[in-house]
Point group: C2
Chain length 434, copies 2
């Protein structure tokens, strides 16, 4: 047994006591964590400076920017932890109650998933976010962050774990994986890890899926679409399309492909394309788009499957709502798609038939985000079709158990002739075993 | 592209139209299916007879019995399909609604998972069960059944698919995999299959998990425990323990290990063990159990991890509730565990700290079943800790999407100074786009 496997086993053992922590203890721990991070910011920022010095010039600019921790970033992390304190404790709530028979009550009771593995890139603010969400929801967690920010991540992790432990949280509940080998080792620990949440590149997520039998939740890509219907307010369409592309192009919920209905293409495309160009966006169009606005690049077949994460947009003319839906369902990454239309009948068809986590009507794709959705904090965005889909808050860290309370009932009384019949009456009741 | 991959792709394409089928069409199809199976029973039973002839003497007795289809079995399947008709249509319901800002409403709307793969052993009645549940919940499905019953399964599948298709259900929505190679081929189709549900042996489920990146839901083993607390009604304890073992020992929710509190062991064990023996159960005990009742076999360390599925029981003496919980959490398959106690404080500790899908108080483990839980029908029992846990009805085939309806809102207005603030007000409202 190596060090990491041993730590994961201990964390798994801690899941049971974590799952029954009183809300007050958890909130005290979160308060300690916020205070500790606040007061030890000098140490954290100092460690971050070392990481930044090593990374300078060696990693892409946006990545360098994302791993930077300054006073404002620490303030934001501290605020984030305090906001999780104010979230309702999700553990122990009764989701449903059914009277199976006289004196035989079945309750579906919410409980933590247990032991999580979270892998992320170089953003150190993921640590306080996920650690506070896990703590509040009674889960244990093992982290692996990007190696570029290893000193920063270790510093934040240490400060937060010590602060939590001084409030009575088992120290073993939180594990930091420091190397790629550590991470590879945990992929085999399906007996101890209940769920893996990888946040990273498409190829990384597929690597994880290919090398573990632990359930994996996350998103591999963000290829989002905006469809501009013929019956729309074109000013609104322009504004939403521009915001979806340029407001923050480097993220998964930015739009990559815009589909324009052929009935308005001649009128709308020149406006859209000139606005894109004015804002520094490279435009790639299909044949019909280029026929209307020749001075753009041609979009290749690969372009429709490309997540640019950059100031590049692919534009296509389609002949109907149905064509738009077909194109989206066969090209999107099932993350977020929007329709711009005044026709609520068409909006209904779009939202029902587009198979994506988020389907928006007359709003920017950039709203696809846990904070904007009101979840308080975000574990990640899921393009899986089980458990949790779309922006995932604390609810993605919860599952349930069935609690059945009887007075000696046996199944033999419910089979054969003269069998007792089940009642199966839904009740509005809380499980009494709290 | 081979035949099977082609069929799976077509089924995946059909998921969109399946997801928007009106309830009436689905119920008509179910009614057709029930009628067709009823009237074509001669054909189905005839095909089953051929399978039975081939299998006789070559497969274990219980398996032979499970694959048998007679008139009573057909009646049961027909009743099962009709009972799914009466279940509420789960598609399109609004699970939550949040006002993000003036005129910007977010709805979480229930929708089908999409394309499922279900693998099962030789029980042909799984076909009508799963097919009717998938149809009612708007899902497409590919089946692979045990090869022993291949003629029976093909006959039932054909009758049901034709009946559904005559009511307007796309024929491509249902796929039958006829060979092991077909099944291996679909493990790579993660782009088209959203969820795999294997029902089978531990080693088979692990094989599936090891060879696909498609999410897998199911249970690998059923090692269930009954803990007899010192403060209990011993008559009740005896009755529940016996029912949990002997009422139907060949299934996953039968008990394999019984833990008896040391304070009552001398009084209770002789009664329990003699009742087990009278009912033909082989008893294996730990050292302390054998010290009290010497005339039993010794339980080896492996016995505690063994799913007997047979008239064998392992019995152990424990010193406290805490010891019982520790033992269960480290030996059970997290399926179903029961405590027999009059002390509701202890019952609360047990139900909160035992990490299993079903935790029962004073009731037989054999109640762990979709029908008994009132789910109408059962897709399977999940020991996973995500998506669906325990007996899984139609709700295990559902997920949700987020529908956001605005009037042109853009994210740039919600960032920077003078940013608009989100309201995030929970509303009791239905999504208007139905």
């Amino acid at each position: 047994m190596t060090g990491i496997t041993d730590q994961i086993k201990k964390a798994k053992s801690a899941t049971v006591s974590m799952s029954v922590l009183p809300t007050g203890v958890k909130n005290d721990a979160l308060s300690n964590m916020a205070d500790a991070l606040d007061s030890k910011r000098g140490y954290v920022i100092g460690e971050n400076r070392k990481d930044l010095e090593d990374a300078e010039g060696k990693i892409p600019g946006p990545m360098y920017k994302r791993m930077m921790v300054d006073d404002a970033k620490v303030d934001e992390m501290v605020r984030g932890i305090r906001s999780v304190m104010s979230l309702e404790d999700p553990v122990g709530g009764t989701m449903s109650a059914t009277e199976l028979d006289d004196g035989l009550m079945l309750y579906q009771v919410r409980c933590p998933v247990g032991m999580l593995g979270v892998v992320f890139e170089s953003r150190p603010d993921v640590v306080p976010q996920i650690m506070s969400l896990c703590l509040k929801s009674g889960n244990c967690v093992a982290f692996k962050g990007g190696s570029e920010a290893h000193r920063t991540i270790k510093a934040i992790f240490g400060v937060l774990r010590d602060a939590a432990s001084s409030a009575g949280i088992p120290e073993s509940a939180f594990v930091l994986l420091e190397s790629r080998d550590d991470f590879k080792e945990i992929l085999d620990l399906d007996e101890y890890i209940d769920l893996l949440i990888p946040r990273g590149s498409n190829s990384f997520v597929r690597y994880v899926q290919d090398n573990t039998r632990i359930p994996v939740l996350g998103h591999a890509a963000g290829i989002c679409h905006v469809y501009i219907d013929s019956e729309c307010d074109q000013d609104m369409a322009l504004s939403v399309a521009m915001d979806s592309k340029i407001q923050y192009p480097a993220v998964c919920n930015a739009v990559e492909n815009i589909l324009v209905d052929s009935a308005i293409a001649e009128e709308f495309l020149p406006r859209l394309i000139s606005s894109m160009k004015e804002n520094g966006v490279e435009v790639r169009g299909d044949v019909r788009t280029k026929a209307i606005v020749p001075d753009i690049n041609a979009a290749s077949e690969e372009d429709w499957f490309e997540e640019y994460d950059d100031l590049i947009i692919a534009i296509k003319v389609v002949d109907s709502l149905e064509d738009a839906i077909d194109f989206i369902n066969s090209h999107s990454s099932h993350h977020t798609e929007a329709i711009i239309t005044n026709n609520m009948q068409k909006a209904a068809v779009f939202t029902k038939m587009v198979d994506s986590a988020d389907v928006f009507v007359n709003a920017s794709t950039r709203f696809a985000d846990g904070y904007r959705f009101g979840k308080g904090a975000e574990v990640g965005i899921s393009t899986n079709k089980i458990h949790a889909r779309g922006p995932m808050g604390m609810e993605g860290l919860m599952i349930y158990k069935y609690v059945l309370i009887g007075n000696g009932q046996v199944v033999k009384d419910y089979v054969g002739k003269d069998a007792r019949q089940f009642k199966h009456i839904r009740k509005d009741a809380e499980c009494p075993l709290r």
